[in-house]
């Protein structure tokens, strides 16, 4: 059985004993005097005490107290025996130190054990080695303190019990009545005792040894008793011995009882002393620590035992002591405290931490409240070392520990002295932000994002110019690009506005609800997107591509590479430094590559046909969507197309499969306009149609009426006009009598009953034919009085036929009008002819002569008379010659002859203006070569009538 296991029993025993001793103490409380004696006796005990005196009174005590089971008794017996033996030795030796030492060790072993038990609850077992040592000085304080002393007295009470048991042993040994035995026994036991404390087996062996010794004693006793036979069995001899003993001891019994009394007194004293333990403590004080030390140093087990025995009570002890005298306790512990704590911290920082944690805040708070300056001073020299070492050790734990306090601490500090905080942080803030960006790119961005807008606004308010300068290069080109787009489209519109084609388009665009520009585009080649590439700006690698199906596939990688090279080239060589401009498009024939550039990538769209404006916007939107979501992914593109998300492909696909959303809107707009248009058209067309319809009906009625009137014989000869209009039928014309007029009216009513009839037919009776004929005669005679007019007329049934000649064209018309004026004349047939004048007179000349002959004088007079008769008529004088000779000469002769006659007529008084002389080498008409030549040498006259002259 190990000691540690025994311990529980010991504790039980101890507790029992404590109560026992208390009881005893209560009994003996009154006996103060005896205590004083006892104290004296205790001092004297070593010197005076005889072992008989001690052992005999113990016997009774032992028996009265015996209550444990036989096994426990054996143990307890052994234990007591072991413990007690030094006492026995002490009794033999004059020095009291060994005894007190041992006792103290015992006490200590229990208290320490108890304490260690206590410690076990939160300490690792290995602390055993160290903890007792720092305890050493404190134990002294414990013993000096009454509380400790009280528990120590309990231990001592236990010791008294043990003494009782010792007494029993002594009694038994005394009963053996063998004085020689004692030293052997005691010495053996003394050595055994130490061993047994450590080892139970050894205890048992020593027990066996002791029994053998006892046995030997009995044998010795038997030998000494000669009356008993050697061969008698042991029991019988023992019984005989008992009897002999009784006989022998009877005489000494009185002495024994005396001794017992004295012992009892001493026990009482001891008990009293235990109750009032100062003296005892003082006595024990010098050796107690050494006892403990020795006990502890002895072996692991013994140390354990000490620890175990002290364990259960040590906390109570300390607590009680603390309650009683805090200062003393503090002083006592103070010296050892730092070492103890530092040691503990070194070994088990976590436990210390846990132990201190709940109170440390309050403690520190308290201290700060009481004396902040002291706290500061105390902490000041070490605080940075503490933090430093802690940080080195476990940076994370430190940060965790500080973390929750930091915000409020910082905010407090900021509130107190913002300037200082600013100065403190300022130098690090840039690198801190940089580092944070390196660690987590998003965090800074998301932290700043919500404030960005306001920050910019603020900055603009503070210094507008700086902001303008900062943004100028970017915004300038952006706006320029958009403006260029806008202006181009405006230009296009303007250019086409005033042409005929443009006007036509304008009308169509109004009707269809499509912009003119789009109409122009539609007139051109239809727009298609062949391919879309999303290209990494720096490397020119294709990140995503969509090509329209059915067409020859483009070499996307090569296209992208070359486009990137071109872009780079343009940016390097063409764009001015500082400018942020980009290629927007590359045109080639009908095709075009639209480039839309973002930060780390750009879109290239290969299109055919004229690119509509909305598609450019669509491309911009697509790129914007891609960049917003995948900007960083694109930036760090490493050439693996699988790293590009599916959504990007979908966005690009949307650019190739063009579905013009704007057309939809326009369609609806178109239908809207169509409705409005058709309503307008309806408003216009309906009345017009109605009007047309009504017109058609009117015409039909007019036609029907005319036919009906024509089919009536008596009306057929009369011309009547029928006019149907807006529900009115108007009849006009002339009829000879009322009867016919009403007949026409009746027919009209039959045909158009719904029409209101307006009969404007005039009734005119036919003129009297006799009177008409008289009028014709009269008019004819009046007309014949006109110059050159010679007509005759014939009248028959309203018809006049005029014959004759007139001098002038206008006269014929005048004649017709004059006859038409006569009532009853319906038609005038005018066959009047224009009268032709002729002057048959010819004047002949001699061959080659231009002189008038004497006989021709009369002919000149005739001509002169003719001209005088018709003063309106002019005269052309035509000279002729024969056909002999030179025609030029003949021409001259002919003209000279005509001139001669003209001069003769002028000489006769004719106005030369009326005379015209012409010559011709030809003979006059009607003369041929068979007739005599002289007929050809003549002058003839052609009158020119005034009618001809006028024309």
């Amino acid at each position: 059985m190990s000691l540690s296991k025994n311990n529980i029993a010991d504790i039980d025993n101890l507790e029992n004993l404590i109560s026992f001793s208390n009881d005893r103490a209560a009994k003996t409380e009154t006996d103060l005097e005896a205590l004083v004696n006892l104290l004296c006796d205790l001092r004297l005990l070593d010197k005076k005490e005889k072992r008989q005196g001690e052992s005999i009174p113990c016997n009774e005590n032992y028996q009265s107290n015996e209550s444990a089971t036989s096994y426990e008794v054996a143990n307890g017996y052994e234990y007591i025996n072991v413990s007690a033996s030094p006492v026995v030795e002490a009794e033999e030796n004059p020095q009291s130190k060994p005894l007190s030492q041992e006792t103290q060790a015992e006490v200590r072993s229990k208290t320490v054990g108890d304490r260690e038990d206590k410690e076990d609850s939160f300490c690792q077992p290995t602390t055993y080695d160290r903890t007792p040592q720092p305890e050493q000085p404190t134990l002294d304080h414990f013993t000096s303190a009454s509380n400790i002393a009280e528990s120590a007295s309990n231990s001592i009470a236990n010791r008294s019990q043990e003494l009782n048991k010792l007494a029993l042993l002594l009694l038994q040994e005394t009963e053996a009545n063998e004085p020689t035995l004692e030293p052997v026994l005691s010495s053996t036991k003394l050595t055994d005792a130490h061993d047994s404390l450590a080892n139970h087996d050894r205890q048992e062996s020593s027990l066996a040894e002791r029994y053998s010794l006892e046995k030997q004693a009995r044998e010795n006793l038997a030998q000494s008793n000669l009356s008993e036979g050697e061969d008698e069995n042991l029991e019988e001899s023992y019984a005989a011995f008992k009897r002999l003993q009784t006989l022998l001891l009877k005489s000494e019994l009185a002495d024994f009882s005396q001794v017992i009394d004295r012992f009892e007194q001493k026990v009482t004293n001891i008990e009293y002393q235990i109750h009032e333990p100062t003296e005892l403590i003082n006595l024990l004080l010098p050796i107690i620590s050494e006892l403990l030390n020795r006990k502890v140093a002895e072996s692991n087990e013994s140390r354990d035992a000490v620890a175990d025995s002290l364990a259960p009570i040590i906390d109570q002890v300390i607590m009680a002591k603390t309650k009683e005298n805090r200062v003393a306790m503090g002083t006592a512990m103070a010296a050892a405290m730092p070492t103890a704590i530092s040691e503990q911290i070194r070994n088990y920082p976590t436990e210390i931490g846990h132990a201190i944690a709940p109170d440390i805040a309050a403690a520190i708070k308290d201290q700060i409240r009481l004396n902040p300056q002291a706290m500061v001073e105390a902490l000041y020299p070490i605080i940075h070392t503490v933090i430093e070492s802690k940080r080195e050790e476990d940076i994370e734990a430190l940060s965790r520990a500080i973390a929750p306090l930091l915000p409020s601490a910082i905010s407090q500090q900021i509130r107190n002295s913002p300037q200082e905080i600013a100065q403190a942080i300022a130098p690090e803030i840039a690198s801190a932000i940089k580092e944070q960006i390196r660690l987590d790119q998003d965090s800074i961005a998301s932290a700043l994002a919500p404030e960005m807008g306001r920050a910019i606004k603020q900055q603009i308010e503070i210094e507008r110019d700086a902001m303008v300068d900062a943004l100028y290069p970017v915004i300038g080109s952006t706006i320029a690009k958009y403006m260029a787009d806008a202006i181009r489209s405006i230009n296009e519109k303007i250019e086409n506005t005033f042409s005929m084609e443009g006007l036509n388009r304008k009308i169509r665009s109004k009707v269809q609800g499509v912009s003119e520009a789009e109409l122009i585009l539609k007139e051109a080649i239809p727009f298609t997107a062949r391919a879309v590439f999303l290209i990494h700006k720096a490397s020119g690698l294709v990140m995503s591509e969509i090509q329209s199906s059915g067409e020859q596939k483009l070499e996307s990688d090569m296209v992208a590479g070359m486009l990137t090279a071109i872009r780079s080239f343009v940016n390097d060589c063409i764009a001015q430094s500082g400018d942020v401009s980009e290629i927007d498009a590359i045109d080639y024939g009908n095709s075009k590559i639209i480039l839309e550039v973002a930060g780390y990538c750009y879109l290239a769209v290969v299109t055919q046909g004229e690119t509509p404006q909305w598609y450019n916007h669509r491309v911009q939107e697509a790129l914007q969507a891609i960049v917003e979501s995948y900007d960083r992914l694109i930036k760090s593109y490493e050439g693996d197309p699988t790293s590009i998300p599916e959504r990007v492909h979908n966005i690009l696909e949307g650019l190739v499969k063009i579905k013009d959303t704007s057309t939809k809107d326009k369609k609806s707009k178109f239908t809207g306009l169509l409705v409005v248009g058709s309503v307008l058209a309806g408003l216009i067309l309906l009345p017009w149609g109605y009007h047309q319809y009504r017109n058609a009906i009117d015409r039909q009625i007019e036609k029907d009426t005319a036919q009906r009137l024509a089919s009536v014989p008596e009306l057929a000869v009369y011309r009547l006009s029928i006019n149907a209009r807006e529900g009115k039928l108007r009849l006009s014309g002339k009829l000879p009598n009322q009867e016919l007029r009403s007949k026409v009216e009746q027919i009209a009513k039959e045909i158009a009953p719904a029409y209101s009839l307006k009969n404007q037919i005039a009734v005119q009776p036919p003129p009297d034919p006799v009177r008409t004929a008289a009028d014709v005669k009269r008019v004819t005679s009046i007309l014949n009085q006109m110059n050159g007019t010679a007509i005759s007329s014939q009248y028959e049934a309203g018809k006049v036929t005029v014959k004759g000649t007139v001098a002038q064209v206008g006269d014929a018309e005048k004649i017709t009008q004059a006859f038409k004026q006569i009532p009853g004349i319906v038609t005038v047939t005018n066959t009047v002819q224009l009268q032709q004048f002729s002057l048959p007179t010819r004047i002949y000349f001699e061959l080659g002569s231009t002189q008038l002959k004497a006989g021709d004088r009369n002919k000149v007079i005739q001509v002169k008379a003719f001209l005088n008769r018709y003063p309106q008529t002019d005269l052309t004088i035509v000279g002729h010659s024969d056909t002999i000779g030179n025609s030029l000469e003949n021409q001259r002769l002919a003209l000279s002859r005509a001139e001669t006659v003209r001069l003769a007529l002028v000489a006769e008084g004719i106005d030369p203006k009326r005379l015209q002389a012409v010559g011709t080498p030809n003979p006059p008409l009607g003369l041929d070569s068979s007739q005599p030549l002289w007929l050809s040498r003549c002058v003839q006259f052609q009158p020119i009538s005034p009618g001809f002259k006028r024309k």
Binding site: H536, K537, A538, S539, G540, L541, V542, D557, M558, G561, M562, A565, S568, F569, N571, D572, E638, G639, D640, P641, T642
Partner: protein
């Protein structure tokens, strides 16, 4: 089998044989005619790489940018180098100044692409004595630059080491070696 794309650039002085190296690698052809490259010419070749660990084959499409050679009037445009995963710095063993300018090209490339790799090709090795070439190789190792993989003596005419430099660069860019 997955395909990734990488841009590589050939950088060097004029007339060192950049275009010839590419022509040899891409088309297995060589011509003695000298045609100066204007601006940039882009070629493409896909190489299949066998991963050391992965059983899956990996294809690397090399977009090879043949840049206009460096002359004393006109340097290499840095924007053409942007985004390149690797570069082959080419020098002509018969022209000392082209060898000397290589470090300049290396620095330029690393300025633009700090994460790129470089391999050195000492071209026209067929036109030079072998012993001298060995000496040149040891002189132009650029070992202090970890991203300069190695130096090779190449010949676009004979095809010596041409495929090696491209494949070595491809392996490195694909992260296999």
């Amino acid at each position: 089998m997955s395909t990734i794309s990488k841009k590589i650039c050939l950088v060097g002085d004029f007339g060192v044989g950049k275009t010839s190296l590419i022509r040899r690698f891409v088309e297995q052809q060589f011509s003695d005619q000298y045609l100066s490259t204007v601006g940039v010419k882009i070629s493409r070749k896909t190489v299949e790489l066998e991963g050391v660990k992965e059983p899956e084959k990996l294809s690397l499409q090399m977009m090879i940018w043949d840049l206009e050679g460096h002359t004393k009037f006109k340097g290499i445009a840095p924007t053409y180098l942007a985004g390149a995963g690797g570069a082959i710095i080419v020098a002509d063993v018969t022209r000392q100044e082209t060898l000397e300018r290589m470090s300049e090209h290396i620095n330029l490339f690393f300025t633009v692409n700090p994460k790129g790799f470089i391999i050195i090709a000492l071209n026209k090795s067929d036109m030079f004595e072998e012993e001298k070439i060995d000496k040149l190789l040891s002189n132009y190792q650029f070992e202090e630059e970890k991203r300069v993989l190695s130096t090779h003596s190449t010949s676009a005419k004979t095809g010596k080491d041409v495929d090696i430099i491209f494949h070595k660069l491809a392996d490195k860019m694909a992260g296999l070696t």
